[in-house]
Amino acid sequence: MSIIQAKGVKKWFGDFQALKGISMEIAEGEVLVICGPSGSGKSTFIRCINRLEQHQEGEIVVDGTELTNDLKNIETIRAEVGMVFQSFNLFPHLTVMQNITLAPIWVRKKSRSDSEEKAMELLNRVGIPEQADKFPGQLSGGQQQRVAIARALAMDPKIMLFDEPTSALDPEMIKEVLDAMKELAKSGMTMIVVTHEMGFAKEVADRVMLFDEGMMVEENTPVEFFDNPKNDRTKLFLSQIL
């Protein structure tokens, strides 16, 4: 049973068509890596999945609910879909602990003590339990991104979306974030990752997709994608970034 289904998703920004009919499915527990040149619509697509952007044509079904304009409780779907941003987007006025427990307390209505216990567990999982009482501004980029992952996980989401999680990081910090993501993938989380980290794609992805100019030009297993690409565009892309 696929947890996300997209059929012919199209999206325009003014006159510019960002998505030209994307269709895909992702099964529970699957790890999907989307790559492609900038402006290819890959970020727009995953932002459509939790409706930070609204698609104009086609349909997206997340966990059995179709995303439409007259959807009343978009919050309940968003609570099931965790998202990690390129620029972390932590809340600067709250401590790390408060950042993580905010949504469980206010959206899930959990008690503070339970949420804090769970937050500590998550911070241990991403390897920074000692930073709990600091503010985001006092952490390094890699640490901030791991807090952002913990914040998304605190809601017990069914799906995790990663929108270029390592693009804003210094090279030596990329590894710590990727390690946290690999660990998460191994635990069986459904993940869609937009990234240029081909090493990560090779190691943990179940499938790799290449987007170009708003279309999906190739969908393949990682082994095939890297060693034996079907499409010329993929060959060009790989030759440029590897």
């Binding site: 939790n50 930070l52 919050e75 309940t76 779907i77 968003r78 609570a79 879909v81 965790g82 998202m83 941003f85 620029s87 987007n89 932590l90 809340f91 600067p92 006025h93 709250l94 401590t95 905010l102 949504a103 206010w106 959206v107 209505k109 008690s111 503010f135 985001p136 501004g137 006092q138 914040r151 998304a152 809601m155």
Partner: protein
């Protein structure tokens, strides 16, 4: 010792005489400051000036014509405010500690300042006499200068030695506030200043013996200080009780209402009425609310809950027409509101507890307000408004911030809203209010507003002024806050959306806290402006602090004649304004520092 002097001399040279330009600047400004100080000192000390003109009018300055027999209400209001502040300071006591040498350093610098100005103070001053001749007189004799220099020097050197001793003792910064406050409290018992006395012919005589300053108010102030201190300890004692913080926050919103009605009206509290009316009604409604909260999860109650709400609403409407006590009518209305929110909030044990507390607090407040408001006998002040002098200035300043701040937040959010109607209305209000001068609004309040109100509805002039003031500063607050809202990056909204927050949670927990933090300096400067602009109410015949200072001389009763001593009063007024605005801006700097922590 020599090293210390060398080091300090070097620091002085680096900071003040580093280049030709800075040397010129240093010398120029020192010359100006010195001359200003010498001039002011001579002015203040010369025998031409009569500072009794200020002291003797202190009562007018504070409360204008409020009847002396009811002063106890004023004292209780002031006392209540201090008790609330004390509890709050205790509850929110910060754990910041400073070493004792910081305090010594502060006193040492203060001592240095006093020493410096004692040395440069002028010995003689001259002023223009009544006949136009220049009179020169000695204001600071050599013996008094030496008499002052020696003790100050000893104390300063003492603090200097103490501060360099590296004593390992630290104190809590909140505690220090009380230590500093105890100094003026001690001073009002020690420092003695003359007050006016009249002889049998009602001629003014130079008083003897000297009376302590604030001779009629030193006991109340001391009592209030002690209560302040006590409530501080109470606050510390209950620091860990989270719910008390919520109750205090709500109480701060109710306190001004209570004080306002308390100053306005004499509540007629007849014990019989309270026992047979208020208390039973309160208990019945509290029990009903308590029962509702406790039984809400019972399946039978759940099934018939909508019928229950219907019954309450019908009873509320019926209550308007049948003759039952006013309190019961109001309580019914409140119960109607209460039972509609109970199902949504009482999902958790914690929610239930807070509901019960809110219910009790709301009922108590309502009872108090109605008991005060239903009373027929107001305080009568012949020929002027109840608030006057400092109490009016303070009321306008506090109220201007207290009501207009939330109003400003709402207007700012409305102006940024996606709903066109809300946006247009909010933009319209802001632009209309801002584009007309405050004085025009004051005239509107005093002359025109009555026309817009339904027949029979009348408000006191002060209430009308408060209404326009709230809107006027609200519009300015709104524009400041809007600036803050625009400084929030889009990513913050997206992050809040992505974790499933509702629009209200997003605004309340993510956007507003950051937006307000970003605009604290401008908010404070708006509040200061509102505080100072309150003196414009003089134009519609209200007597604010400044107006008292300006007019008090003309209205002096015959025997106590201070004609020609207006400047003393105006300087006093300026100093008081300065003290308050300066304190406010210092506070805001501290808050900024404390809140800015995460952003650096």
């Amino acid at each position: 010792m020599v090293d210390v002097i060398k080091k300090n001399a070097k620091a002085v040279q680096e900071s003040l005489f580093s280049s030709v330009g800075s040397s010129v600047l240093t010398i120029g400004t020192s010359y100006l400051v010195l001359n200003f100080f010498r001039g002011m000192f001579g002015f203040v000390m010369s025998s031409d000036k009569d500072w009794l003109a200020v002291l003797n009018n202190m009562q007018l300055y504070m409360v204008q014509a409020y009847p002396e027999s009811d002063f106890i209400r004023v004292w209780i209001s002031v006392g209540l405010t201090f008790v609330f502040s004390g509890i709050s300071i205790g509850l929110w006591r910060s754990d910041d500690r400073s070493n004792i040498s910081v305090m010594f350093d502060r006193f040492y610098k203060l001592g240095l300042g006093v020493l410096f100005f004692t040395i440069v103070a002028p010995t003689f001053t001259s002023y223009m006499g009544n006949d136009g001749s220049v009179i020169t007189e000695e204001v600071f004799s050599r013996s008094s200068r030496i008499g002052m220099l020696i003790p100050v020097l000893v104390i300063t050197v003492g603090f200097f030695l103490l501060k360099n001793r590296k004593i390992n003792f630290s104190f809590n910064n909140s505690d220090a506030v009380f230590l500093y406050l105890s100094i003026p409290i001690a001073l009002i018992w020690i420092i003695e200043l003359p007050t006016i006395q009249l002889d049998q012919n009602k001629d003014r005589i130079i008083p003897d013996p000297l009376m302590p300053i604030a001779n009629t108010t030193k006991v109340p102030w001391t009592v209030i200080f002690v209560l302040f201190l006590l409530s501080y300890f109470i606050g510390i004692y209950f620091k860990e009780v989270k719910r008390l913080k919520n109750i205090m926050s709500i109480s701060w919103f109710l306190l001004p209402l209570l004080i306002f009605s308390w100053i306005f009206k004499k509540p007629q509290i007849e014990m019989a009425e309270v026992l047979t009316g208020d208390i039973p009604i309160f208990l019945i409604f509290f029990a009903v609310g308590l029962g509702t909260v406790l039984l809400i999860n019972n399946p039978i109650v759940k099934k018939y809950y909508s019928i229950y709400i219907g019954v309450v609403i019908v009873a509320t409407i019926a209550g308007v027409f049948i003759s039952i006590p006013m309190l019961a009518k109001a309580c019914l209305l409140l119960l109607g509101l209460f039972v509609t929110v109970v199902p949504a909030v009482s999902t958790s044990q914690q929610g239930k507890k807070s509901l019960i507390i809110i219910w009790a607090v709301a009922l108590v407040t309502l009872t108090f307000l109605l008991r005060g408001g239903a009373s027929e006998t107001g305080i009568v002040v012949p020929g002027s408004s109840i608030f006057g002098g400092f109490s009016l200035t303070w009321l306008l300043a506090i109220f201007g911030t207290y009501v207009s701040f939330p109003l400003g937040v709402l207007l700012a959010l409305g102006r940024n809203s996606k709903l066109p109607i809300v946006r247009i209305i909010c933009t319209g209000i802001i632009e209309l209010v801002r584009s007309v001068p405050y004085i025009t609004w004051l005239f509107f309040a005093s002359v025109t507003l009555a026309v817009f109100l339904p027949a029979g509805v009348e408000f006191n002039l002060i209430v009308r002024v408060l209404m326009v003031t709230a809107f006027f500063s609200g519009a300015y607050f709104a524009e400041n806050i809007r600036g803050g809202l625009q400084s929030i990056p889009k990513g913050q909204y997206e992050a809040a959306d992505a974790i499933g927050m509702s629009p209200f949670q997003k605004i309340g927990l993510i956007v507003l806290p950051q937006a307000l933090r970003a605009v604290i300096p401008t908010l404070v400067s708006s509040a200061i402006t509102a505080f100072k602009d309150s003196s414009l109410v003089t134009i519609i015949g209200l007597f604010d602090f400044l107006t008292i200072g300006k007019t008090v001389i003309d209205n002096q009763s015959v025997p106590v004649n201070f004609v020609g001593h207006q400047r003393e009063n105006l300087i006093f007024v300026a100093v008081v304004y300065w003290i308050f605005t300066f304190t406010l801006s210092r506070r805001s700097m501290k808050i900024e520092k404390r809140l800015g922590l995460g952003e650096r």
